[in-house]
Amino acid sequence: MSLEFTSSEMMSVTAARALTNDMTCFVGIGLPSEAANLARLTHAPDVTLIYESGTLQTKPDVLPLSIGDGELCESALTTVSVPEMFRYWLQGGHISVGFLGTAQIDRFANLNTTLIGDYREPKVRLPGGGGAPEIATNAKEVFITVKHSRRTFVKDVDFVTTVGFGRDGKARDNVPNIGRGPTVVITDLCSLKPDPETKELVVISLHPNVTREDVIEATGWDIRFADQLETTPAPTAEELEVLRALKARTHSHHSGQQ
């Protein structure tokens, strides 16, 4: 039996699968939050989710619109101050995976959420770094999820807000007390991993019905594919059902207020 699903659903389901029960995940708002909660509601009920607002081990019933919705606090084991969150829990080494989105990503998985253009004369001013710069270096590893397009996947980001492997792939070499960095990037077209040597992102799996050409078309550099390119397993009926119910609850919750 084959199921109907969108490329966005494919991305969320694939991103969710990257999380396992034993992980302590520092969750970025938006796509990472959707994926992390899908994981918690499906195969990883015991995954520990942490939001930078200070909510430790939270289990929201609807997706938060902001990083600090009341839902996150009310369903958390405990809520700590923001400096404690960044100092004790993130910098203190208790986060196994940081789950991030981005506006731009380059071939060495550097992330730009600061601006397009020149810093002093920006074409587009983006929100800025937020928690990402230190999540990316203090978490033991980093997962990234972002929609695939030529605007997003650029050869070199305009600004390195958050380091992947640096402009040359070597930014983490010989740096003490730093995490492994991005270990997987999940888009609506494919999954990518850094090459073990060069750290350049390589497509390791194409989502169902996606071609190499689709990915090449949507990527701003000469993208490489793994020798043993896989096909991402399609979403299961349960995954789709849980994801759609979560999004429906969320939509109704965020529209229905005051």
Partner: protein
Amino acid sequence: MAEFLSLQEAVSKHINNGDTVAMEGFTHLIPFAAGHEIIRQEKRDLTLIRMTPDLVYDQMIGAGCAKKLIFSWGGNPGVGSLHRLRDAVEKGWPNKLEILEHSHAAMACAYEAGAAGLPLAVLRGYVGSDLPKVNDQIKFIECPFTGERLAAVPSVRPDVAVIHAQRADRNGNVVIEGIVGIQKEVVLAAKRSLVTVEEIVDDLGASVNACVLPSWAITAVAEAPKGAKPSYALGYYDRDNAFYKDWDGIARDRETFQAWLNDNVFEKGVA
């Protein structure tokens, strides 16, 4: 001891043109009522500090209160851009806005160090980021014990801290519950502090290790029911997520923004 004032009196007395003002509340308990009063009193040339500028600073920037913004994430959470902030940065409207940009970790540490009375915060941060290239306040030091290279930023010591909290008792002691953010730190780091509260009560009802600010650590307390709306106050009212989404349309355009400001801030007077 904190002085009980009306919000109008408190803003008039304690916030001056040109001051460095930090209004905090991490998504929760954002002091919107105080922000609107600052707009109504047409305060000018403020250096505004806030980890997540959010709608409250979008409104104050659009109203022309700010000359500089120190921040670490300037968006409408879950929605998109802060259009008034972008218009000021990209087009200089209504006036040029200087920005100084950090990461959350650095700003959290800078407030924490300010509360701790230190001139600097040390963190394992900014590794590989371009932010130190555009913010000359970010320096690096070497640990005298391990030789490790660590980031250092100046502590935040604002002229005035403004926060919103659930309750004050009649002596001016304040309790904050839920997502407590950086509120205790900003009050302790600031020279003066203004706390708006949902209500003033006989008994704080605070648990033994609750986040409580003693009256003698606060300059002024003002009652401002619903003072955090459209943000929220745990135990009082929910976040108005629909308004956050609507703001995107209101703020995108200068005219709709100014109309909103007239109808909802200037004509409303003090709550």
